[in-house]
């Protein structure tokens, strides 16, 4: 389908044509990069800026400089992002907003700050203790601080109604993504994940208004289309919340006989389980949404709701047969969570398989064999 090819081109381009184009159309506009995990894009959007979710450089850029700064045992996305910066690829960006993900990504924030003193580089601390009544107020203040920085950078003033409008736009976008995900859970043969994935990932590089239109178009296409239902197992993919798997790997998983019925790919595009309230203080609305309605992942901490229980619930909800842990190499949060996840899945009698990938890998023979074996072990007597 042409739509998906177009989408994927956008994700693969290291020179960010969509960002350059946007900046040509908005001469005073600023583009702000972020890691698409949990970032309040609404703030950036409301400041009249273009939030762009960076997800590494895949296998399209050789690491030539970054490994001198981040040594062994550090994940690929941190290195490819720094490599992009050190080789001038991030030139269209005026800022980079980091948020709490992991220690490596946070240190990258400060390495960028040192090496690019002219760029706005900031770190957003997301609360790790949602049980505290003080946490929401803290997050509101933190959002306010970021917003003030953005206002300074853009030499603008963001009013509440502007923020509300941005929230509404993103609400609509995310609601469509939720609809697509629901459709796929019900009829996975209608919504191949390797297509959905391209569509959602492209949202990192498009103005939200345009992306929403593409989502609507895709929804129509998916509903109309559909292939013969195959004898495949239904799986939930878990662990790819930050570094994103290469597209061929997703195709490979589907080809091996899996319907992906839920996943945590590109979590930053769909990180609330419901709409952000459109009344009252918009910062408060965004903050409470993070505290109470952000989707669960290995880098969001809420000890009131154990993640392993959420995972089992997700498997039940999507009527999946099994869980596939698709973990980025050297992703420590995902490595840690594997232990309690595994315990609880086994307790619940849910089969699982763990695979490791790097966004820059391009040969998958061993992974293919393991996925196929896993499917064979579930399908054959």
């Amino acid at each position: 389908m042409a739509l998906f090819e177009r989408m994927w081109d956008m994700c693969s381009e290291l020179h960010f044509p969509s960002v350059r184009e946007w900046k040509r159309a908005h001469p005073d506009g600023r583009a702000i990069a972020y890691f698409p995990v949990y970032t309040p894009v609404e703030l950036i959007h409301a400041a009249g800026m273009f939030p762009v979710g960076l997800a590494g450089a895949g296998d399209r850029l050789d690491i030539q400089h970054a490994d001198a700064r981040f040594g062994s045992f550090i994940c690929s996305i941190v290195k490819t992002t720094l490599e992009m910066a050190l080789t001038g690829h991030l030139e269209p960006f005026d800022g980079f907003l980091f948020s709490s993900i992991c220690d490596s990504a946070r240190n990258l924030c400060f390495v960028l700050k040192r090496n690019f003193p002219g760029m706005y580089v900031d770190f957003l601390h997301l609360p790790h203790n949602p049980s505290s009544p003080a946490a929401t107020q803290f997050l509101v203040e933190e959002y306010r601080r970021i917003l003030a920085e953005l206002e300074r950078l853009g030499n603008c003033r963001v009013r509440d109604d502007t923020l509300h409008r941005s929230i509404a736009l993103y609400n609509h976008n995310r609601a469509l993504i939720r609809e697509l995900y629901d459709l796929r859970t019900r009829n996975p043969e209608q919504v191949p994940t390797w297509q959905l994935y391209q569509l959602i990932r492209a949202g990192n590089f498009m103005p939200v208004e345009e992306h929403t239109a593409q989502l609507q178009e895709a929804l129509v296409q998916f509903r109309a289309g559909g292939t013969k239902q195959r004898d495949s197992i239904r799986i939930v993919v878990e662990g790819s919340f930050c570094e994103q798997p290469p597209l061929p790997l997703i195709r490979l998983i589907e080809d091996a006989g899996c319907y992906i019925v839920d996943d945590d790919f590109v979590i930053g595009q769909s990180w609330f389980d419901s709409d952000v309230p459109r009344e009252g203080d918009p910062l408060w609305a965004l903050a409470t949404s993070y505290m109470d309605h952000a989707v669960c992942s290995s880098v969001r901490h809420d000890f009131r709701k154990p993640r392993w229980e959420e995972l089992v619930a997700k498997v039940r909800r999507s009527q999946a047969d099994a869980v596939l842990f698709l973990v980025a190499k050297f992703c420590e949060p995902a490595y840690f969570d594997y232990v309690p996840y595994r315990q609880e899945l086994e307790r619940a009698g849910i089969p699982h398989l763990q695979l490791e990938f790097e966004e820059k890998s391009f040969t998958f023979d061993r992974l293919r064999m393991e996925v196929e074996t896993f499917v064979e072990s579930l399908v054959f007597d």
Binding site: G71, S72, I74, D103, F110, H128, N129, F303
Partner: protein, 423 residues
């Protein structure tokens, strides 16, 4: 080779006694249920708060490092890996959880199941996972004190309020769990004790500015860190550090250094390789190279630049310590600045960066740090890799080779400089 590789004064015995007394208390708590115990992280710990309950801290990191120094860390690490932990997970966590599974303790005594698992989250995301897992495996209540990371030069009012609020919530939680009333006066006294201990500790650290330095601010400082984190807020801590200061000051006044001749002065960055602690130290001792400052000795608190707990503002100062005054919660550039100050004010010849695989908080980006020090500041800097807990990542011959080559080169640079000075 110099016979006396390191200083062995009376404080070393006293240090041992104190730590054994602590383990004794833990053993008693395990047997009788009192005193209440609270698991906590070393980094930016708030041991003062526990004093208000007469509760004893339980530091999983100390257990893990003790195990590694005794060459006993591999078995528990493997036990944890059997459970599904990855080769690339922090080995401190694996060793600690492996011990829990296998019932191993670092002493002959028992370790209690803590009353509360209190995760003082100061930057290290691994702490969150570690304590979450401990709480799951031990079925103990968990509370996370979320400390905002130092993303600005100074903490904001909002950062402080958030932490103070959580400290108050922790107090309520501990009141429920221990059945004891929080003793505010005792807390205040603890904060008072801490401020005195910190003053003494800071003076000790400044003794290393003298030449020769009377102690090694990496290898010896680690020995002194136990009492600092366990006893800081108690009179025993004050007494201990008074004695330590007196002893080291006398040594410094007599111009006695760690080695017969102090040939090199170094700043050390990163945790040590505990499984090869002695071997690693010998590699520096061979060259009579003394650490005059280290970042690792500031994980629990950064006091040599003036910060003290404040009995007039006990909660705020505890919050300030957790947010801004420990190296763990400070950002990478603040760490660069800290090392730069050490190099200048402590008059060091070079920086050793020890990359440890387990700890991404410390190690991710250390290549950039090397770049900054060598290219921007022209400070000789060596980068070596291993691990703080897992013996499988220490390549002795390689590490030694690099260290020898570094000193061969540094010797040359220093000699050239001194000739130039003479001319």
């Amino acid at each position: 080779m110099t016979d006396k590789k390191e200083y062995r004064g009376s404080i070393h015995q006293r240090q041992k006694d104190l730590m054994l007394a602590w383990y004794g208390q833990l053993d008693q708590a395990a047997l009788t249920g009192t005193p209440p115990t609270v698991s906590m992280m070393i980094s930016g710990n708030c041991v003062e708060l526990l004093e208000g309950f007469g509760a004893v801290p339980l530091y999983p990191e100390i257990n893990a490092l003790q195990l590694a120094i005794r060459h006993q860390s591999l078995d528990p690490i493997l036990a944890a890996e059997d459970l599904g932990y990855a080769a690339d997970n922090c080995a401190y966590v694996k060793a600690d959880i492996g011990c829990l599974l296998k019932g191993i303790t670092p002493t002959d005594g028992k370790l209690p199941t803590p009353t509360l698992i209190l995760c003082n989250f100061v930057g290290c995301n691994t702490y969150l996972k570690w304590f979450e897992h401990l709480a799951k495996f031990q079925r103990v209540p968990l509370y996370v004190i979320d400390v905002p990371f130092m993303r600005t030069d100074e903490p904001s009012r909002s950062d402080l309020d958030y932490v103070v609020n959580q400290l108050n919530e922790t107090v309520k939680r501990l009141e429920q769990l221990t059945g004891r009333k929080f003793d505010y006066d005792r807390f205040r006294q603890a904060v008072e004790c801490s401020s005195r201990t910190e003053g003494l500790w800071s003076q000790i650290k400044h003794l290393a500015r003298r030449s020769p330095s009377p102690f090694d601010a990496y290898f010896d400082a680690i020995t002194l860190m136990g009492p600092l984190y366990v006893y800081r807020a108690k009179p025993e801590g004050v007494e201990f550090f008074e004695a330590a200061l007196a002893e080291l000051e006398a040594k410094a006044d007599a111009h006695k250094g760690v080695y017969e001749q102090e040939h090199f002065r170094l700043v050390m960055e990163g945790p040590p390789p505990y499984p090869y602690f002695r071997t690693f130290r010998d590699m520096f001792a061979k060259w009579q190279a003394c650490a005059v400052a280290s970042t690792y000795s500031t994980v629990g608190g950064l006091w040599e630049f003036g910060f003290r707990h404040d009995p007039d503002h006990p909660f705020e100062s505890v919050a300030m310590h957790m947010i801004a005054q420990n190296v763990t919660n400070r950002n990478l550039l603040q760490r660069y600045e800290q090392i730069r100050r050490y190099v200048e004010d402590w008059d060091a010849d070079g920086v050793i960066i020890h990359f440890v695989k387990s700890c991404r908080l410390f190690s991710a980006g250390q290549g950039d740090m090397r770049d900054y020090f060598t290219k921007q500041l022209g400070v000789p800097t060596l980068y070596v890799e291993s691990d703080l807990e897992d013996p499988r990542y220490f390549a002795e011959a390689q590490t030694k080779n690099r260290i020898d080559a570094f000193f061969e080169s540094l010797e040359h640079t220093k000699a050239t400089a001194s000739i130039r000075r003479k001319v």
